[in-house]
Symmetry: C2
Amino acid sequence: MRLVVIGGVAAGTKAVSRARRVAPDLEITLYQEEPEISISECGLPYFISGVVEGRDDLIARTPEDFAEKDVEVLTRHRVESINPENKRLVVKDLSAGKEFEDSYDRLLISTGARAVLPPVEGADLDGVFALRFLTDADAIMRYVREHSPGTVAIVGGGYIGLELAENLKEIGIEVAVVEAEGRVANAYGLEVSEKIAEHLEEKGVRVLTCDMVEEMVGDEEGKVRAVRFDGEELEAEMVIVAVGIEPAVEVAKEAGAEIGATGAIRVDKYLKTSLLDVWAAGDCAETTNLITGEPAWVPLGDTANQMGRVAGTNAAPGETFLEFPGVLGTGVFKAFDLTVAKTGLSEEEAMGAGFEVITVTVDSTDKAGYLPGPDPVFVKLIADAATGQLIGAEMVGGRADKYVDICATAIWGRLAYPDLVNLDLAYAPPFGPVLSPVIVAASALANKFERKTEGVRAVE
Amino acid sequence: MRLVVIGGVAAGTKAVSRARRVAPDLEITLYQEEPEISISECGLPYFISGVVEGRDDLIARTPEDFAEKDVEVLTRHRVESINPENKRLVVKDLSAGKEFEDSYDRLLISTGARAVLPPVEGADLDGVFALRFLTDADAIMRYVREHSPGTVAIVGGGYIGLELAENLKEIGIEVAVVEAEGRVANAYGLEVSEKIAEHLEEKGVRVLTCDMVEEMVGDEEGKVRAVRFDGEELEAEMVIVAVGIEPAVEVAKEAGAEIGATGAIRVDKYLKTSLLDVWAAGDCAETTNLITGEPAWVPLGDTANQMGRVAGTNAAPGETFLEFPGVLGTGVFKAFDLTVAKTGLSEEEAMGAGFEVITVTVDSTDKAGYLPGPDPVFVKLIADAATGQLIGAEMVGGRADKYVDICATAIWGRLAYPDLVNLDLAYAPPFGPVLSPVIVAASALANKFERKTEGVRAVE
């Protein structure tokens, strides 16, 4: 029995480890287009600034590590096509420049996602980059070393753009963030976007919004020197495009795998695709939003890892079939001293999904007010007005990474406001005010619900 | 309609605020024996070391604040007895030394808890203290100022004892912790106790265990000079007894209120006592352990606050009746650089409650390993072998305060290992490894469960 895995970052390498664990005799080959496997792509912004010192530090495991587990890992190998009829693959060895055929009994597609490059003139100039792979980071760092750009324009104010803003500022480059979607971090509510923009400005990062980025403008040597948007030019000696990523599904699609509404590969709850004996996991695969029940595409490293565990177990022969229940879209990022986090639906997303919502916002702190240096934190909770259940939460400031995990777990457990307000969380003065900001916000939520239902509650 | 509240720390003051909110016309009087109300007792160790600078910082609200809400607060007034037949009280004004009578329509007892003093000789010597009230902290600080003790013995290695160890060491006093229950932090599993003891020793705190503390030994001036245990004397120029607290239930008990098995006042799910129109909340009241369904007494500030919210709402006239569902016993404390936290049942407690358990322990870190300075963290999960549900968790190290809240919320939501392993928590390198230590531990748990059920899982 032979398992082939296409793509070896988070989902692929986790799947391989799991498959080996549950099926010690399985023959396993992993093909990876990039020169390395098992890369922490989320660490790349911190590598560019030198906060991560060694390139190797970002590589969790090597082909040699897998060889010890009797897993064949072939890097610089791109799978060109899949024939699901006869379970054969065409593979190109990129180093040798040669194609060959291979076959599988079970196939796992974990081809990941790639950066979207906007179709504007000048996107191919020297000094214009996207950041997705370790090789992209290498190229950015080489350009910084060779040309010492004094200014950078980051096109796109999502979390990668904002992490880059911090890390490029860190190495002394003046940073402007250009956002064409009206505001930075627009997956969040307006309150959060504004707090982030304010913090960026305090840290000396310019935040610019525009209707459309029109062109990257080059100099006579073919190097970028400006970004043009809304008819104006912003000087920039380097440009990083961080407008988003898209699932890499071409090979799967050409093989006839069903592609979902999100553009990613459709899978069932066992992460099986529409093709016989073919699974998919990670950034190339679609999953389910647990709140709306709708298809969701959430390309994040932790989710990819979790999907890899499930897909790797199921693709290996054996009695164990795991389910991957879906996602909430939980995320966190750091932009300078600000922690920003979200789980579930934003108010806008909830309304778009047809929910009537009740929302609250509170300002609290991340330790008892009488201890030195409490950081402020802003928490917004979004509840389903019909059930009182929490369906979304956003937070900015001290320990936001903690509060978001509490809320994510609460949404997962389908907790409603009467539970949230009484939730037994841990308190000691160094770790928060007497009631967690989540509970303070839940109390405000309960007050709103109780007002709404006043006089109609059951009396014992 | 007149509400009288006895005791004004966490539960009492919160209850009063809520009662005022839901019943604007209610007549409210709060009696408090101590000179202040609304004190953060949990902040007292940090006040002793000067980390909390101002005494007033520990007082969240004053009688004047409540007067503005038309609530009468009388401090240095002790309620001596309750007559539930005619709804009258005998109150002693401690300043004036006079008794008077008062009456109520609704009564809320939030008399809190007091420190237990062991019945050993010398417990009344100068320099022997317990720490419960702000006035206790005042006395300790006065003794430190006047006598500059070079050594202190802290009798009791629970969280108050360990917080005091840190804060007294902080002001230059040599600290020994003497624990008669075999090990420090014995509400935790052995692994955790050992990690704490090791850290204390690293920080220069002596950790001594003994069978029994026999005597506080005084000098000719009546000042403590040593603690005697197991026949040996440990020199100590100051002693702090932190062996535990007990609920202050005398007035309630004499009035005929039912006392629960835990020794605290028995209440129903609305926090009503067995007496007509009498509620109880906070450290004097019993609640339910949500995992075992058994009576529980968990005297913690956050729980008291949450109980106060429920009791204050229910004791006020109106249509709203809230339920207090119970507790998990979630707690956290800091001992020097170590964060220690727990929710639910320890392995020993779970077995004592009749559970068959499956447990795992993992060592992880609190940020991506390639970033500077990740702190190690130890996580132990305790699951019910019959259902796979999480019933307890303990953690020591970086961000333990976060992981415990995730686990507490998961237990509240009755999540089992297949949920925990797929839980959608927030990831970014500055906030953790790609999978939260909770998920890493849950994966280990899932592996144990899957091995156990191998070959018997349903196959689709």
